[in-house]
Symmetry: C2
Subunit: 751 residues, 2 copies
Amino acid sequence: MKKGFINNVVGWVMGVLPFYLFTLLPQPAWAGEVSSPNGNVKVKFYVDGQGRPTYEMSYKDRPVVLPSHLGLELARDKHASKGLKETDLMDGFQLRSEQTSEQDETWQPVWGESRDIRNHYFEYAATLFQPKEQREIIIRFRVYDDGIGFRYEFPQQKELNYFLIQEERSEFAMAGDHTAWWLPGDYDTQEQETQQTSLSGIRGRMQQAVNWGNSSVAVFSETGVQTSLQMKSQDGLYINIHEAACADYATMHLELVDAQTKALTTKLGGGSNAYTPNPKPSAFPLPKPFTFVSHLTPDATGLKGAMQTPCLTPWRTVMVSDDARDMLSSNLILNLNEPCALDDVSWIHPTKYCGVWWEMIVGRGSWHYTNDFPSIYLDKIDWSKVKPNGTHKANNENVKRYIDFAAKNGLDEVLVEGWNVGWEDWANMWKRDVFDFQTAYPDFDIKMLNDYAHSKGVKLLMHHETSSSTQNYERHMEKAFQLMNKYGYDAVKTGYVGDIIPRGDHHYSQSMNNHYLYVVKEAAKHHIMVNAHEATRPTGLCRTYPNLVGNESARGTEYEAFGGSRPDHTCILPFTRLQGGPMDYTPGIFVTKLSEWSNNTSWARITIAGSLALYLTMYSPLQMAADLPENYEKFDDAFQFIRDVACDWDESIYLEAEPADYITVARKAKGTDNWFIGGKCDENGHEAVVKLDFLDKGRKYACTIYQDAPDAHYETNPQAYVITKKTVKAGQTLKLKEAPGGGFAVSLMAL
Amino acid sequence: MKKGFINNVVGWVMGVLPFYLFTLLPQPAWAGEVSSPNGNVKVKFYVDGQGRPTYEMSYKDRPVVLPSHLGLELARDKHASKGLKETDLMDGFQLRSEQTSEQDETWQPVWGESRDIRNHYFEYAATLFQPKEQREIIIRFRVYDDGIGFRYEFPQQKELNYFLIQEERSEFAMAGDHTAWWLPGDYDTQEQETQQTSLSGIRGRMQQAVNWGNSSVAVFSETGVQTSLQMKSQDGLYINIHEAACADYATMHLELVDAQTKALTTKLGGGSNAYTPNPKPSAFPLPKPFTFVSHLTPDATGLKGAMQTPCLTPWRTVMVSDDARDMLSSNLILNLNEPCALDDVSWIHPTKYCGVWWEMIVGRGSWHYTNDFPSIYLDKIDWSKVKPNGTHKANNENVKRYIDFAAKNGLDEVLVEGWNVGWEDWANMWKRDVFDFQTAYPDFDIKMLNDYAHSKGVKLLMHHETSSSTQNYERHMEKAFQLMNKYGYDAVKTGYVGDIIPRGDHHYSQSMNNHYLYVVKEAAKHHIMVNAHEATRPTGLCRTYPNLVGNESARGTEYEAFGGSRPDHTCILPFTRLQGGPMDYTPGIFVTKLSEWSNNTSWARITIAGSLALYLTMYSPLQMAADLPENYEKFDDAFQFIRDVACDWDESIYLEAEPADYITVARKAKGTDNWFIGGKCDENGHEAVVKLDFLDKGRKYACTIYQDAPDAHYETNPQAYVITKKTVKAGQTLKLKEAPGGGFAVSLMAL
């Protein structure tokens, strides 16, 4: 099989034909084909009879993407006469030239699942020309052994300097009625439970999916879903659609064309945010059923983006394999991002932390300091004279307790939420000036607590909840970062709860994506790491800005206090949400029945051994021990694993995987010869078979196994675990039984 | 006549009646009446049979405002359940209590038309209660001898902490079909020509008014007009509606109910900005014809404001007199603003300036430095290697020429526009990152030029054109102000050309009004004066923040290069636009036929003597000598007046006035015994009769009269003037003939 062969059979002939002949030719008028390095993945690209860019994709000669169109619809704008273009970039294209190349490099991330990442692909770039508008664009493909990425590029040119995007219309025509693990497409949240249906079942499940967990905010279509979208074909192909390097561009959703689709959505179908659909209907015919079409997040006017050439879209990615483990080990999205943009990364470090957080989430304490005011103006309250409510948890005594716990157990940092004034009326009131990010409540002595922490080798982790009032945050950010530098904070957890202010904008719009990255870049100037919650889903930008050490962007552990998540939730996230970057999932709940220590009747559907497994199966350089110190103290022998486990790795090997069923992974701690293995399963249990053939041959390892007890069960017996210690060596096999909703964790310390 | 007598005949009875009886009573259920100090202005307030707050106003017992309702419609919002209220504040009110008081104080502005300003009013505040919603609001009236102000106040309370304004419905029922001088109501511009029609003629003139000058952007109704709205009744009452102290609240327009009105506008009628009307229709009946109803500027979602109690609306003002001069001498709007909020005002000073500006406006030079790029990214260009276009006027040599001119003629500062990179593609491209406000073009040596200016006793005046990309400006503002401090700038002209970014917002929305004031406050921290162009129309906030030394907010001199303005334009502006604060009109065009020195065929409809008059009739602490130095050098004897004239005053006496016809004013220069008199007239000419009875008795004054020549005419002979010098004393009378489109200026130097 030829690697990277470009099949351009008719292109050389066509290049010399006059334009008027082109439309007379049978399609495809031209065709280029490129294969991945090992030949498994192939992409064919051509311009069809209407001049529409078209591609197909296969894996081991099985179709992955059937012929699908590419293009963008541009918006009508009153400034068109001044240079903004509005004729679509959809059709009427000629193939002007093609370029191919091969790249094979290995790079080292600042932190990650492995020390070295190989970036090996064949590239194909088609330069397309619209003779009528005298405009040129480039569509670039990178073809890897485990998938492809493509993007649109807009060179600077006389006839294309600025344009407004009405909609990007990138199609992904699936070859069958695959099983899909999906979230309702939503402009403002990704915190729903994952749905598992066939593609044809999406429409019928949507209403239930939107209601479930009551998390949807701004759903746009009855067949709209989010990325990363994991699928599995009837014949066992694993296919994943997502995007890479989404910066200053709206986040992409996917709208499925099914048998009942009459038109692609141009107006908001759900949610209640005010929203102006641009009334221009698509002039192009519907693709055939089982086709996903890109759907970007709008701004307040309903437009999808303002562009200035030269510019690029994010990469649209399609990962594929016949082995589910390849979905998890793929570095395709990181590889499609730009190299690190920071000169000095010495201050960036993986972090294990605990924090003043879970007790408020569960409801046993408050972020706010007083109950005296129905609403507050930050600058009109003398906090020293305010009556405390007695439930404020970010107080000196409690924070010191967490610092002591962190110091005793080798945790690096302590997150403190609710330290700063403004929590009395912080959310959902359309209140712009909600926080100043600088003024501490009177019972939080910022200097004393940082000094105390530092004296014990621990750092405090800053918290900036913005309430989605981004203008307010940007007005105060520089001084807030200066405050952090002054007191020795080196990381901030940001939050974007509630609707975006300015009103009408959405969490995943171009302007908000610009904001999130602006914060990361400004933070980098202050040597501050960022862990952004409720921000848009990651697309691998952490390669370029490795101080973006975490995101939430999915249903995290907090939902265990809001009714709970399904046991298979954490067996899906690595296939979906984690494709673009690490999640601050905040694992480690040991006392899963919250009523044991609070009035909260919610409970986590996981065993303690399963909770330990998450430190491995949910890769992140930022790992929280989320439960209360006193809860960990009850199970100190199990907590030993959290003390021991690394959060940065030289090597990771996915041993077993099936979406929503189980994941088993072994990881080698960075700079050591120690390995850690984790296995997590769904509500059905699992028996993991772990062959220790990745260990150094001839070396012995002190092995500690944290395993569900035989009678463990996520509901009836979650705290039943067995700890086994033995010595092992390469070649041995561990058989590890996981309880329903359970899992296991293994540490292998090189002797 | 009793001053400030409160007539509350039935209130004490009603207070003890149960609520269900209230609606059975004939209206008015209660009535309070308050008179102005001299008794000329009276206001009656009561709650009508539907519980709607209602007021009437009279002047010398002639009706000014017929019974008119007050109230606000609140918006539906998804967060209502969390505390946002959505039932209207329109009806169902009871009068809970009334309060009256008198205020008589004299205060001194930092700069102004007079040294002392008397603030003398009777106040009436009605506390209104909605029993059903258990909410309380206050409507407060202040009654002056020359008009009234009223506002809504929302105390902090259990049942009213946050609300969203759907629309403010303050009515102003006019007593007849008055003549009105109006601008089309527009969310984004105030730069149209003024229309003069009867109230019933507004609808028929609207389309022409919108087309005229092509300046309208986002017109909302066929009978929508802007404030300040000047009117004159058939029987000679001058009535003006405007607002005072509009901060963090949307700018108010007025929609006229006429015989053809079917409903009040709830959606955008003109303009092309995307806009979402809130679909909730008003449940209240239309008021009768000749009633103006308030119409606030919407945000991107169509809402008018997000409020948190305790809070206030701006004051709604109705000025009235039977003498047009009282419209100009009134301090009502300044008086209704809060006292100065700045501790140190020593750095604020009136300023005469010239600048590198008019030659670009006219088209003989460019703001931008190069023609080489169809679009630019600020951070991707090495400006030192860029090819200059040769037309860039903010260059060292040209700026030095202006500095020399300023130094020679006693001007304080030199404005330089186009000094900073980004002008190559600065407007109307929806480009967010358009300027950094810190990087100078290579031919503008910021250090050298400031040093050079300072060595000659002159300062440079900074320019920050934001292109209405407010997020970008706020991101760079602090560093831009630091740069100004570093080089010794103490004033900035800001600009908001083009559509607001973030898209969907409007120039006069709540969020933008917050932005403008945010800039003024941040500038004050750096001891920087602000002159904001294209910002919303002033409402007297310069009393509270006297570093807001100027605004544009109307059709300024620049339009003389864009086709010109009518000769009566400057005889209208003092009645309308100038009510809220000074305008940086940039007067002083001596060479009115631009084709004399450029390729521009536009021309200013004014004589040279008329141009001199503007320095007096258009009060501003910031006065530009806008024409080119070489044009002034041709008429150096006339330019002597600009050298001499003050721009800060101990006393101002309006001697003659009629809207759109003529204005004559005498002003005493601050801290001196020198007087200056200016007279400006429309296209019909005027003969001013100036009795010098305001001069110090027994003192002699060196009088220089700059007058139109007998054959002067704004079109055919604009540069014909006569300068007369003589000695005058109190009691004498000057008769001064003003040519069509002309005027006069007089300096009276105490001997």
